[in-house]
């Protein structure tokens, strides 16, 4: 009896690897070959990695999503993030704070003044002594120039504004300037965090998004964890979310204690991940599952 069950086990053990192999090579073999065309404009979703990048070739997260999710992003009308973009445009022109100014009082037309901004964020700020993200830059403007109250990191108004400003850079390649200030140090700190195992599951970012992108992690198709589409409309969230919200979600999933949104750790991680996607087109606001 014992021998019989043992042989059964052996039989199964032999069968399983072949099954797993055929699955990974046929159904879920890395990114697909679809092309992202938004309102007639082709947006490149992959690019050759710059020298020193740990990844051989960069793919936008869009290439790992289902056709239905991809279609949502390919049409600005169906992209649910665009209600927030509309709100962002309204806020851009709304006077707020003691100085009686709106964003447009100084920056005029966002389509001109904000083009390319999202592509180079986070960027070094001398006055702050650390890198500015979209969120901290907007709040600095609000407090110093407008005399308005700052927005919370994940406030609807903040997300609407980052989406609206980010949209003006859509299609432009991500290009961080690491030469400025101490950006390189922040990048290296982010790289350390990226490769450090944390949490009960003892995983680092790189364990999933480094060598294993394209594979399935339970029901989810692993992407490279690129940040070129943020703020992103996630179907799971039913709304927009910031890069730091995504970081936090990942850390929750690996049973780690997440850092706070806007913390130095997350800013460093944002610098590193943004630079890791150097050359990918900005897709803000993107749609993911």
């Amino acid at each position: 009896m014992q021998i019989k069950s043992a042989s059964r086990l052996v039989g199964r053990a032999l069968l399983l690897p072949t099954l797993a192999l055929s699955f990974s090579s046929v159904a879920f073999a890395g990114p697909d070959e679809n092309q992202l065309i938004i309102e007639g404009e082709t947006i490149s979703t992959d690019t050759k990695a710059a020298a020193g990048n740990p990844l051989p070739h960069l793919y936008s997260g869009w290439r790992f999503r289902s056709i239905e999710t991809q279609a949502l992003q390919a049409d600005d009308f169906e992209n649910p993030a665009f209600t927030a973009v509309d709100t962002g445009e309204e806020l851009w022109n709304t006077v707020d704070g003691s100085a009686g100014k709106s964003c447009s009082s100084c920056h005029n037309d966002a389509a001109e003044s904000m083009a390319g901004v999202r592509a180079k964020m986070p960027s070094w700020s001398d006055s702050l002594g650390k890198p500015h993200t979209m969120e901290t830059q907007i709040n600095a403007c609000r407090e110093e120039q407008m005399g308005a109250e700052k927005w919370k990191w994940e406030a609807q108004d903040m997300l609407a504004m980052t989406a609206y400003v980010g949209l003006q850079s859509r299609g432009m390649p991500v290009a961080l300037d690491l030469e400025k200030g101490e950006m390189q140090d922040w990048h290296d700190k982010g790289e350390d965090l990226y490769n450090t195992r944390v949490g009960q599951l003892n995983l680092s970012c790189a364990n999933c998004h480094g060598g294993n992108f394209g594979k399935m992690i339970r029901a989810d198709h692993l992407s490279q964890g690129q940040t070129n589409g943020f703020p992103v409309y996630r179907l799971k969230w039913g709304g927009l979310g910031s890069i730091h919200r995504r970081f936090k979600g990942c850390m929750d999933n690996i049973r780690a204690t997440p850092y706070k949104r806007g913390s130095d750790e997350f800013i460093a991680l944002e610098v590193y991940t943004a630079n890791r996607g150097q050359g990918l087109s900005v897709e803000t606001p993107s749609v993911r599952n």
């Binding site: 009308f77 209600t83 509309d86 709100t87 309204e90 609407a160």
Partner: protein, 108 residues
């Protein structure tokens, strides 16, 4: 955001006899009237209850919308076009306000 703003997407051109797809979306909270606030008082119903599309003086699409429709209602429908003209979209709110949008199409 309080501002209610409709968006419509109509192809700019079409051939006579073509069946075109029109997409419409209006930013609206669609408060169902079923919810209660912190004090337990019913939040009054405020939804878009009627949607109508006219083309060359003729109604080509009309819908009565009920509570239970999600926020920012998205309506998409097909129309067969024979001649150039202007689509006239109207959304009617519970409080009587009417939101409008116009979009023309060139048919060859």
């Amino acid at each position: 955001m309080a501002k209610i703003k409709p968006r419509v997407k109509v192809p700019k051109t079409a051939s006579a006899g073509d069946v075109i797809t029109i997409k419409t979306l209006i930013k609206h909270k669609m408060e169902s009237g079923q919810r209660k606030d912190k004090e337990g008082k019913v939040i009054p119903r405020k939804i878009i209850n009627h949607f109508k599309v006219d083309f060359a003086g003729k109604t080509v699409f009309e819908a009565q919308i009920q509570p239970g429709t999600s926020a920012n209602p998205f309506l998409s429908f097909s129309v067969k076009v024979q001649e150039s003209g202007e689509f006239h979209f109207t959304w009617t709110d519970d409080d009587g306000s009417v939101y409008e949008a116009k979009k023309s199409i060139a048919v060859s």
